[in-house]
């Protein structure tokens, strides 16, 4: 079995708070995996540890056989691990196209001859092609998410980490975005790891779910099983209700 990402015993403490505790999991190439957990479970911290934005205390992150832990965020991106942010963070004062061109200038993507043309292609790909020349400030929230994805794709990732791509979106925006993620996964054979705290949205999307609570992995299973897992139910609904539910 080949493995693209192998995380072993990753831990991080902030003072007395354990944000991530002995997290170990691995991803196969081309897998679409979800990380599930209630608010504050440590999902975003885990992403920040994987992408170098926060330094881990212990453990290792092997990507394509090479250690990522200890590398600066931009170096990790140039190894082929791209991420989006939960709160979209576009470069204000620039056009939509320029926002993507920035990522096309990263060392990993620099071989493309015409950066603007490549950025335009990526925007077409995520459905923002018509808005390329507009100031980024005019984009609605759903489009900003697409822009984040286009910017991440510009760095030519082999592994794409999406931090709550559906958060704050209306139900009419969620379905097309889910379709986009599916398409990326299918057409480009991209390995995708995505965070979500709401169960429903990504149940149909992912093939495997890693459930975490209080920084620890509590279950790894296909979506249909994860919703029946007692520890997951407990994390979501609380102990008493869970007891009632199973009774």
């Amino acid at each position: 079995m080949s493995v693209i990402l192998d995380v072993k015993d990753l831990s991080k403490r902030f003072g007395g708070l354990t944000a991530t505790k002995n997290v170990s999991f691995s991803l196969e190439p081309g897998e679409l995996t979800g990380i599930l957990g209630p608010n504050g479970a440590g999902k975003t911290t885990l992403f920040n540890l994987l992408t170098g934005f926060i330094a881990a205390d212990t453990g290792s992150v092997l990507f394509e056989g090479q250690e990522l832990r200890g590398l600066a965020p931009h170096k990790i991106v140039n190894r082929g691990v791209a991420r989006t942010f939960q709160l979209t963070r576009p470069f204000l004062g620039m056009t939509v196209l320029e926002n993507v061109v920035v990522a096309c200038l990263s060392p990993r993507a620099r071989d493309a001859h015409d950066k603007e043309a490549r950025a335009q292609e990526l925007l077409d790909h995520v459905g923002l092609g018509a808005k390329a020349r507009e100031p980024v400030e005019t984009l609605p929230y759903g489009d900003l998410r697409r822009l984040e994805i286009a910017r991440a794709l510009a760095t030519k990732p082999n592994l794409l980490l999406l931090d709550e791509p559906f958060a704050g979106l209306g139900s009419r925006e969620i379905e097309p975005l889910a379709q986009l993620i599916k398409r990326l996964h299918r057409e480009q054979k991209l390995t995708i790891l995505l965070i979500e705290h709401k169960l429903r949205e990504f149940m149909a999307l992912v093939s495997r779910v890693i459930a975490i609570d209080f920084g620890e992995i509590i279950a790894i299973a296909p979506p249909a099983e994860i919703v029946r897992n007692p520890r997951v139910i407990e994390a979501y609904i609380g102990k008493t209700e869970a007891a009632h539910a199973s009774a």
Binding site: A72, V77, N78, R83, V102, R151
Partner: protein, 309 residues
């Protein structure tokens, strides 16, 4: 990237022609000298704007590079009796060295560390000039530099040519992909890193370019004054440059250059007000910055030329 429009280019030609011809028409060595200082300040303001205006990391100690360049010229002239033309390249190299020494430890950090480190570095250099007075000449500084060019008018034209080259180079860089990355850094460092960009590298490199031009201006100033003294390192110089940038329109390169010329001229013209000079100057500044927070020159130019684009 953005193409330089015919409108901008013709505007630049007119302004440069005006600057070049004014001293010929006025035919006064005093006024030629004033304009020389104006143009040197313009080099400093444009160079400040390239780093701080584009990346948003405000440099409160630009006088460090200015003073380093000027004292390099001073030492070359008074200690080694070197040909004055060696001053310019040497000043650039020394200013670059200073920018690396301060930039490496501080530009990795976020927050106000860079601004504070630059401020203190320039203040420390000013003190060091006084402490090591045997070498630096103390309060009095270093005297007896040779002019690069004897004729004040010809020297003014030389300095003006350097300003034009500096603004052209910095504008070309600012409008290239490089400039786009610097503006992205101003926007959001984390997003830049997520886009695979080595933020620290670009910040240090832009500071180095900024310092090179500031040091060059410092040496030009030294060979105009024919002496250098510790106030060149002072915070007042840095703040004056920053104000010029804001009045000119931050991030536009040409705006700060013209802002510097305008404000330097203003201080000279206000001499007729005698002791009320600073009052009038400060009030004018406050009015400009209060009414036009984006600056005067660059926004005005953009509005005037809007319909021709």
């Amino acid at each position: 990237m953005k193409q330089l429009s015919i409108v901008d280019l013709s505007g630049a030609v007119v302004v440069v022609a005006l600057l070049a011809l004014t001293p010929v028409l006025l035919n006064s060595n005093y006024f030629t000298g004033v304009l020389t200082v104006c143009v040197i300040y313009a080099i400093w303001a444009a160079s400040w704007d390239f780093m701080s205006g584009l990346t948003g990391r405000e440099n409160f100690g630009h006088s460090l590079f200015i003073g380093a360049g000027a004292y390099t010229a001073g030492f070359l002239a008074t200690v080694w009796y070197a040909n004055p033309w060696y001053s310019l390249p040497t000043a650039v190299v020394v200013a670059i060295a200073f920018s690396l020494i301060v930039g490496f430890p501080t530009l990795r950090l976020r927050g106000p560390y860079f601004a504070l480190a630059m401020l203190s570095a320039s203040a420390i250099m000013q003190r060091l000039c006084l402490i090591f007075w045997e070498y630096s000449g103390g309060e009095e500084g270093l005297y007896g530099l040779d002019p690069l060019i004897q004729s004040p008018l010809h020297y003014y034209w030389f300095v003006l040519a350097i300003l034009v080259a500096a603004v052209a180079i910095l504008t070309a860089l600012a409008q290239s992909h490089w400039g786009l990355l610097l503006r992205a850094i101003r926007g959001d460092e984390a997003t830049c890193q997520a886009a695979g960009i080595n933020v620290t590298f670009y910040k240090i490199a832009s500071l180095t370019i900024s310092a090179a031009f500031a040091g060059l201006g410092g040496a030009l100033y030294a060979h105009y004054q024919l002496q250098v003294s510790p106030p060149l390192f002072s915070v007042v110089v840095s703040i004056t440059v920053i104000i010029m940038v804001y009045v000119g329109g931050i991030g536009s390169i040409y705006g700060p250059a013209l802002g510097a010329i305008m404000l330097t001229l203003l201080t000279e013209l206000l001499r007729t007000f005698g002791e009320y000079r600073l009052w009038v100057y400060t009030l004018t500044l406050m009015l400009i910055l209060f009414l036009l927070p984006n600056g005067l020159i660059a926004p005005l130019w953009r509005r005037l030329t809007e319909r021709f684009r």
